[in-house]
Amino acid sequence: MKPSWAVLVLVVGLSHLASAGAASPYETINYHVQQMIAQAVSSDSTGVQAFREQLENLPRPKAGDSAKARPLQQRGLEQLTRNALKEALATFRQAFIADPTDPEIASQLARTYLRLERFKEAERLSIYTLSLAPTHAITWLGLGEIYGQMGDASRAGGAFANAYRFASDPPQLTERLRQLATIHPTEAVRASAQQALQTIKTTITPQPSAAPVLAPKTSPATSAVPPDPTIADTAVTATHPTEPFPNNAIPLSAPSASTQEPNTANPGQRIYRQSIPRTCLIVTSRNGKTDNLGSGLLVSADGLVITNDHVIEKADNLAVKCGERESTASVRKRSKQPDLALLATSLKNGESFIFNEAYSQDLIGRDVFVIGNPYGLEGTFSTGVISGLREIDGVRYIQISAPISPGNSGGPVILQDGTVIGIAAMVLKKGQNLNFAIASSEVIVSGLFDPARMQSRPLVKEP
């Protein structure tokens, strides 16, 4: 390693160019971070140090509302702990928007993007974080992983080397690199971590910073937009999808599944937990705009979804969300009478519902459970009883007292044993709780049901 005066000259010269040119703030930051990586790859400590100082001297963004950001950050960390990545992303985003000058929050947002395999966003947020705190070792480590995942072993190695260089606890950092080098699923990450481990043994002296987090400095060059509560109005209409569905849903088809349910769960809770991952939200669009929404149910292991024909009848495009999984969909079969449609999706290898073949007076009085998305209220669960059997225009229906509303159409009506006894389809507006589902027996005899892929079974006597 030799002192590189040429690099210093280059740094001074190029930094003037960068500030004098039309580079955006991000491009300027990125330039310096990439130089720090390049110097680290060349094992040039002086170069790394020089560009680090340049980075530290760039204008700082104006401080945000840390009082608002901190509780959000805490919530995001809790969500990360239980692996609720999408929730964590939404929360860290809100924290970042509240205070974009907190390097911990920016770094956690970057790492959440990384865990979601959104590498471009992760890279941008990591580089931004390094503009706030150029010696933030965890961010360097994350950036190395990002570049490794993107297949850029060279830059990954440089970022890992900087992670070690700025680590406050070098042995711990070494251990983390060792883990990456041995158990990371991506070859480029393993290789570059291995390379970094070899390099740091011989060349790098750690330089943990006494003050790794820089205090924000206001840039004189930035426009004087006053702090304004209205920018937080972003969320006026933005919604944050919540993910209340448990990941540990018990498959209906597994006979032993019910034994895994806690004894405290009542039948409704059990049905809800079992059914929610295979109950679908269906959103249709026309001319690029959201047009209609309804419900549906997964009926085969290869991703077939049944819904009502009237839910999808005018759609240009279809999207479905079953539990946590999303897919586009295409119409496989459809019929007006009965009002049914079969959709093909990419949601394979999941659990599916089993139809109940029964259509007899034995059904009347039995408890039923309905899941759907009335008015877009996702995963709404309601209960009632089977009130009667009706044949309307030659189609067999099950009359139920469980409340349904627009948006429930196409969703499952479920018996206590978890089988589907009908597909929610109609309401009688004049009355109260006079709702109708197309009987599963009707679905089974329709041309939509494929016995090779879908399952049905007879009525089981209730205890």
Binding site: Y26, V225, D233
Partner: protein, 237 residues
């Protein structure tokens, strides 16, 4: 070459102002320039945008009639707006902007109050006046984008969002705000506009497969005043 063209664009725009009808007031001229800025931003025409901005900066500015009275009315209006007393806030903010038409903040908050009251043409006018006084005010561009979103005008929403990003004090924060809208906003126009804006600047975004739904499809207390909301409109039957 391009710079030369743009230097030529400044006098051209000035001439353009001259060919507006003689009856056109400064306000109308300013609105024209704001619309130009929106159109140029949607085309990612940075040089044209800068040129228009310069012309706007040279346009005559209104003079305050009663700056002190306006300030007091503005503070009152802002406090009322924060308490969600929209009608009273509107009265105070109108008074503030009439007393001092050069008070950017009063005009900006007036635009916000109109938007919250769903009086969109008035919101648009107030925000355009705000931007005529301060063309780099990212917050006002953002609110104008929301107005266009509510009016289902994707093209202008894109232009206004593009200017929000362009003039943002912290572009990374603006980028995350745009991503948040592009991925989570239930209203199609605004969500698509944010998506288009991110693409315009070649910024990464994950397009949602299933468009987000409003978390609250028009739920409100039984005794509340009925108000048309975006959420209600988004909820399909």
């Amino acid at each position: 070459m391009y710079n030369t063209l743009c230097v030529a664009l400044v006098p051209l725009l000035a001439i353009g102002a001259g060919v507006l009808p003689a009856s056109a007031q400064t306000t109308d001229q300013n609105r024209y320039y704001i619309q130009q800025m929106i159109e140029l931003a949607a085309n990612n025409d940075e040089h044209g945008l800068t040129a228009t901005q310069q012309v706007l900066a040279q346009s005559p500015k209104p003079q305050p009639k009663d700056a002190v009275g306006a300030r007091a009315a503005f503070e009152r209006g802002r406090a009322l707006l924060e308490q969600d007393q929209l009608d009273a806030a509107l009265t105070a903010l109108r008074q503030a902007s009439q007393s001092d038409p050069s008070n950017v903040e009063a005009l900006n908050y007036l635009g916000l109050a109109y938007r919250k009251l769903n009086r969109l043409p008035e919101a648009e006018a107030a925000l355009q006046q705000t931007l005529a006084l301060e063309p780099t005010r990212a917050v006002a561009w953002f609110q104008l984008a929301q107005v266009y979103g509510l009016q289902n005008d994707t093209r202008r929403a894109v232009g206004a969002l593009a200017n929000t990003y362009r003039f943002a004090e912290n572009p990374m924060r603006a980028e995350e705000i745009l991503r948040n809208i592009a991925e989570n906003e239930a209203a199609d126009t605004l969500r698509n506009a944010a998506l288009d804006t991110l693409r315009l600047y070649k910024l990464p975004v994950a397009t949602p497969i299933v468009p987000p739904l409003p978390t609250n499809p028009g739920i409100r207390p039984l005794n509340s005043r009925s108000r048309s909301t975006q959420a209600q409109r988004s909820a399909a039957s």
